[in-house]
Symmetry: C2
Subunit: 213 residues, 2 copies
DNA sequence: TCACTAAATGAATAACGTTCATTTCCATTA
DNA sequence: TAATGGAAATGAACGTTATTCATTTAGTGA
């Protein structure tokens, strides 16, 4: 299904073009606007034409997902101690997908086969774990644990500020309501960032202790 | 919008009935089958009749979500030390929503107002944290961090076994591929459970250290 | 020039959530 | 008893959605 090399004219569509158009569409109008019709229109093409290059809309989401994985910064693993590198990677990972929540089920549930950027990222992270002395057989579990936290935190980063407002039922949950109203964080940090930092520090410290023990 | 008390016959629909029917439908045929038409049919009613008791399908999901929150076991907080209670609660929480992935965006993004079971759960958890000596102003962040990990782990629990199969690109990620193939866990535990246990232990230990420090 | 093929088209379909005018049926009031 | 009011059910309709299919277009190689 790859496109031939020597085909100068009439080369309208391709997976690359579709991916770029989808990214642009999502950046401008969000995922609600990422429809096959809208995508086709942005490429000046009929919706059905997309199906010559892509098997389904899921396929489009996979292409977009892999492209975004290339934006996750793994460079810290090559130049920093493990704990600090994990923190920087996790922050970058969360920030990228906070703006792409609908992709999280795709990442979390679909095989990485044929997702080169995704595999590349995992390789860089694995390298960092190996250099830190992690035993091969625990590395994937550790990465999965960190990823689970990151995905959940990406959701949390998009939660409205009043998500824990108890409303009329406040009297039935006095301790929780009090804890919610006392939740105040350092200037410049919103609630989601504080919870993310707290959990990430705990997770990294706990994993380091596991490795040492 | 509450139903009157003395209305014996003709009492066809109500939020309670809708919630129960939706839970039954999902348990039998999954979330793909939870459509307004299917839900109405299971209640022997026209689809439009549902809108007399519910504003939207989102509303139905909210009702289901709150009902499920009642199934999360928080009893350990009343009878066990903090670390062990958190572990049991987290396991129960993950297990409940592993079978209800489509609800995770709903839980993570929508206010808890008018979700009594949800608020009840948070109150029980908050109580447990208070008894363990946590300062009020950190409790919500700690719960949010744990929840983020739990939601992500619920996704992971539904991932196919071959999710990390690198396929044709294995040569470009040798270290990762090796780590994936060495990922083997004790009998009776699948991969997702091992990663969940590893991360949960690390998170709990790390949070305990934060509290102590 | 002629076939072959990749790729675009436009019409069509089924399923979805949702709206709305209308009707039904019960409980209350006159 | 008869009339009234209102909650709730109906069935038809609408606008989107992803996806399919037969058909046409146009460029390439023989």
């Amino acid at each position: 299904m790859r496109r031939r090399a020597g085909r100068p004219s009439q080369a309208l569509l391709g997976q690359g073009q579709i991916t770029r158009a989808a990214l642009k569409l999502v950046a401008r109008d969000g995922y609600k606007a990422l429809t096959m019709s809208g995508l086709a229109k942005s490429l000046n093409v009929a919706p059905s034409a997309l199906y010559n290059h892509v098997a389904s809309k899921q396929d489009v989401l996979l292409l977009v997902e892999d492209a975004l994985m290339g934006r996750v910064d793994v460079s810290a693993f090559a130049r920093m101690p493990w704990a600090e590198a994990v923190r920087l990677w996790a922050h970058s990972y969360r920030d990228v997908f906070s703006a792409h929540l609908p992709l999280i089920p795709v990442i979390a549930l679909l095989p990485v086969t044929n997702a080169p950027q995704t595999i590349k990222m995992y390789e860089a992270v694995t390298d960092g774990f190996l250099r830190a002395g992690w035993p091969q057989e625990r590395i994937v579990d550790a990465i999965v644990a960190l990823e689970s936290f990151i995905f959940g935190s990406a959701y949390d980063a998009n939660a409205p500020a009043d998500i824990f407002a108890t409303g009329e039922l406040a009297e039935e949950a006095p301790h929780f309501s009090a804890a919610v109203s006392l939740r105040r964080n350092p200037a410049g940090h919103n609630d989601a960032d504080a919870a993310f930092a707290l959990g990430l520090d705990a997770l990294v410290a706990g994993l380091a202790a596991t490795l040492a023990g």
